[in-house]
Amino acid sequence: MGEIRDLIGIYGAIDRATMEESERRARVSQLLPVYQHPDVHWFDDFEEWTNAKREDTEEPPFPSFEDALRGLAGVEPRGRMRARRLFAIATAAHAFPELLESHGESTALAAALRVGSLAEDDERAQNLLELLGDEQLLLESDDLDAWWQSVLAVASYNGLIADTAGMGPRPCSGRLVMVDLPGGKGPVATLRTEFETSEIDFDHAGRFLEPVNWPDCSDFWCEMTKLGEQPPGVHQYHEVVSTDCPSKESAWTIEAELDFSFTRFTDTAITEYRLRDGHPLPNDDVLVDEGSLVVRQIGSVAKPRLRVTTTKRIMFNHPFSGEALAMIMCALGYASVVEDLVFSCATSGAAGAGTSFPGESPAAGPTKGGPPDLGPVIEAVKECIDDWADAAEASSKKMAEGRYTADALVQDMARAWVRIVRDGATALDVSVRSARMPAGTRAREPSAK
């Protein structure tokens, strides 16, 4: 049974539990804010659709909570799947806190963490489970991303996980918006995810953006077959994704015909996709599937850092709500392929692994200019840092003393804007003037910060 199918079984049990008790829903919504909406419920509908799509079989399409935990205990997660498993177990621990106090059930949850690439023995697995279910840690964190980083830091510091490198950002962090389709064909769910990483350089990451690499990076992609390039620059692929590729006839499986385009600048690689012209056909499962994967280099050569942006519009031939689709995407990892490419393949692959990024740059020339005189910049940086540090200290003190009121917040926000504009302008102006750029007509590539 597939690992992704097991994760869906866990999220499905959580989804059903949130319907029955508002307290559980409130606890789950701390990690999955989409559940703040009281009507969000997806699993029964998804299971029914899966049953209708797949071949007749007695076996349920997704395992029970208990079977899912048993299944995970026998599968070694790799790459990004380690983070997905941690997050699913954390959500389960918050949804069913009583299980942490029940020895047998707690053991079942911990067993899903007691695998070589996560906790190496029973004691570490139990401690890791308690960390994931720590309500106080969640309440004390500024936001969910801070909570996730705290979990990884504590797990690493205490040796609960031997190596937290390559875990990546918090799973299921996609932001949902509803977007009108061209021609007024109604709103479609759209997910946008953005994260930064310094675990891999730009060239290496780019080697996995070509879709033929995807099945090697995620068990969710059964097939990504390149069919051709017609017209030039439009690359056609046949996609097959499934919750269980080896048994896809009895699992949730969909196929799509996609057109891809690839664009590359010096510091940016863009992969775009959409359904092939002429699709969807009447019996297609996927009515809308389009988006972008954008990898940008925002660090320096000495300190490479990437910003990765993923967007995906998705509509199936089944009337799921936007919130339901967001949860389905979360459980499947369907909108998060770049996370698999970066954290399951690129960070662990050999230097020559993957394939050359096929994109070419549109017209854009190199940046010109002489070596900058950075002397004045030093002073500007010092002033800028000092100013912000003072402001941060003052506000932090108020917060620590419990004197940070709504009025203080408004004042800080106003001051922050003024400071950003003033300091940013000052430092950048000095920098730009110091660079002694020659005047004249020239082209520059994107230089977003």
Binding site: S292, I378, S395, M399, W417, G424, A425, K449
Partner: protein, 166 residues
Amino acid sequence: MDSPLAHVVDGYTRLAASLLERWSAHASMVATKLDAGGYDADDAAADLAATASLATESGFLLASEALDAAAILTGRQDEPHIVDSEVFSTSLAGAKLRLAGPLVSGHGSALPAAVVSVKPPELEPTEADFSLRADATGHRAGTYVGSVVASRGDAVESVTVLIVVP
């Protein structure tokens, strides 16, 4: 946190605390380097980039929070589909900025110049950064690429820009 206003205040409070923590850490790191002596041009360049990035990010996060707040308070989360780009820069501080034409995706779809604005259209004398905002309502998803022409006196510069439409 039941009322929309409570959600807004809560969102700002969390964001403010997070930003202040990061600024404190950044300032502490720079202060350590300054105290150690030998703060040179390379250090300054690196810290300038980090400072500018953090300042810009802070601005965008605050702006995003403001947009979220507006959506929460008004209940209009579905339309129009307004998209902001990242920040780009020109070497011509104080320049006038205009789009050279439509932005085009890798599949050839276009975002007409009429639905894309350059912010600001004219930079202050010491400003070099700008961004784009597009009303992408009814347009295909994709990453749209184009050029912004910056002009100041006789000097002209073309800056390649992009905006990701979810």
